[in-house]
């Protein structure tokens, strides 16, 4: 094998001096870094039971562990199962995970009566300091469950191919209105006879310009495409909520 040639330093492009200007702090990027906003971006992750919401949260924890100050709030039908799964998975410091109990009604806690979730987000920030991103995972619910805009800034709806390729066509507010639709477990499509092209076509018909991503966490344990979508939303959020903005409600 030939030895690797030492990389030649890149040629610096000629500096445009036609417009007189100065650099007050040449070594410093004047833009705030991604996600360092005044208030954390809150992203809700909802979807039917077993569609892979908790696995997606775990994948995003892996993706962002060294990049962002992250917190996770889970809403379970029964006690703290999803929070316990995340703690055991070791993808995030357990202090950064909170569980909300929802009294048989996981959709109520994320849509109609959001106080317990807002409390949990406040408690996270009190416990571990300021956050850049909070993922709020809903308890497994049906296709009608959506997050209140009073709780989250953006919401992701997760369905899976094993739930049937008719799910995007059936619609419902999660499928039609979520900021991002994730069609998960694409690796199972051949085994369950799901037609991804049909799901893609139906999702486009239902969602108009809203994005849809196909995902297999088996093949991509950091859910790269979803993480990139969140990075994009973070940059947008940081521009809207500069550092000077007050942090959360008192």
């Amino acid at each position: 094998m030939p030895a690797v040639e030492p990389t030649t330093p890149p040629v610096t492009p000629p500096h445009d001096e036609t417009v007189p200007h100065t650099h007050p702090e040449p070594g410093v990027d004047p833009h705030p870094p991604l996600g360092r906003a005044g208030r954390a971006l809150r992203v809700g992750i909802g979807g039917p039971v077993g569609s892979g919401k908790t696995a997606l949260v775990a994948a995003l924890c892996r993706a962002f562990a060294d990049e962002l100050r992250l917190g996770v709030v889970t809403n379970d039908i029964y006690t703290t199962e999803d929070a316990d799964f995340l703690r055991r998975a070791g993808v995030l410091d357990p202090a950064r995970i909170r569980a909300v109990e929802t009294g048989c009604c996981p959709h109520t806690a994320i849509r109609d009566d959001i106080g317990a979730n807002l409390d949990a987000i406040d408690e996270l920030a009190e416990a571990v300091g300021p956050l850049d991103l909070v993922l709020v995972e809903s308890g497994g619910d049906n296709l009608t469950a959506t997050f209140s805009r009073g709780l989250v800034d953006r919401q992701i709806f997760v369905v899976d191919v094993a739930g049937g390729d008719k799910v995007p066509r059936k619609g419902g507010p999660g499928v039609t209105a979520a900021d991002l639709l994730v069609i998960n477990k694409t690796d199972l499509a051949p085994m369950v006879g799901a037609d991804l092209a049909v799901m893609d076509r139906d999702a486009r018909a239902r969602r108009g310009d809203l994005p849809t991503l196909f995902l297999s966490i088996v093949g991509d344990p950091t859910a790269t495409s979803v993480a990139d979508w969140i990075r994009h939303e973070l940059a947008h959020h940081a521009a809207l909520h500069p550092l000077a903005a007050p942090v959360g409600p008192a």
């Binding site: 039908i77 029964y78 006690t79 199962e81 109990e101 929802t102 009294g103 048989c104 009604c105 109520t108 806690a109 109609d112 009566d113 959001i114 106080g115 317990a116 807002l118 409390d119 409600p249 008192a250």
Partner: protein, 240 residues
């Protein structure tokens, strides 16, 4: 000023104050086999009304009274109006703490107080919520309710009625979910309890004239024990 719509609004289980996540001790009573059907649910609700219902309503009424502490009531020139109010509320908070034997139930009451406070601050930003005691975990729910009702312009009796009503309707709705009971018959059961609920509210509103240490202190040791056990469960549907 009569404000029946505001009374209904604040008594409504859909008011976003976290009530949906609590069974008022019913989940533990069901698991213990003590509530299994309509008659046992009725007995549970009557007992809850006479204990937690009366105490909560009396403290809500007393907090409503404290909210109305106005300039003419200030005897000492050294005390400003908010100082009088916050001292009265702090004393009520301590007295209610003493009446809530189970640590789990104290935590639940404070958590529900925080949820109600969040709603109250958003809806009536000028109400004197800042005078609530800065207890760790937040003020007890009946205190927040008293201030909220005062801000809404409700009377002391209306305040006590909301508190008493909430202690039975929340548990009744949990009964429908936990036991699969016929919802019409559960509503009929609540209709049957309406007189008792109004009587409890009237008694609580009268009691609010007494000094805090004389307020009702009815308790149910079994409910306290159930609450402590419930808090240790690994799998439960309701937060309390």
């Amino acid at each position: 000023m009569a404000t029946p719509s505001l009374l209904l609004l604040l008594a409504d289980g859909r008011f976003p104050a976290g009530a949906h996540a609590h069974s008022g001790g019913l989940e533990a009573a069901v698991a213990a086999g003590r509530v299994t059907d309509l008659p046992t649910l009725e007995a549970f609700l009557a007992g809850r009304l006479a204990t937690a219902g009366l105490v909560g309503a009396a403290f809500a009424a007393a907090a409503h009274r404290a909210a109305a502490l106005a300039e003419p009531c200030v005897r000492s020139a050294a005390l400003t109006e908010p100082a009088v109010r916050s001292a009265a509320l702090a004393r009520l908070d301590a007295e209610l703490d003493a009446r809530t034997a189970a640590p789990a139930l104290r935590a639940v009451s404070r958590r529900q107080g925080r949820a109600l406070l969040r709603a109250g601050r958003a809806i009536w930003p000028d109400a004197p919520f800042a005078d609530l005691p800065a207890t760790p975990g937040g003020a007890h729910q009946p205190l927040v309710l008293g201030l909220l009702c005062a801000a809404a312009g409700l009377s002391r009796l209306e305040t006590a009625t909301i508190a008493a009503y909430g202690t039975v309707t929340g548990a009744a709705s949990a009964g429908v979910r936990l036991l699969g009971l016929d919802p019409y018959r559960v509503q009929a059961l609540l209709v049957g309890l309406a007189d008792a609920c109004d009587g409890t509210a009237a008694e609580a509103a009268r009691a609010a004239d007494d000094p805090p240490e004389r307020l009702p202190a009815a308790a149910a040791p079994l409910a306290d024990i159930h609450a402590e056990i419930h808090a240790t469960w690994e799998v439960r549907l309701f937060a309390s």
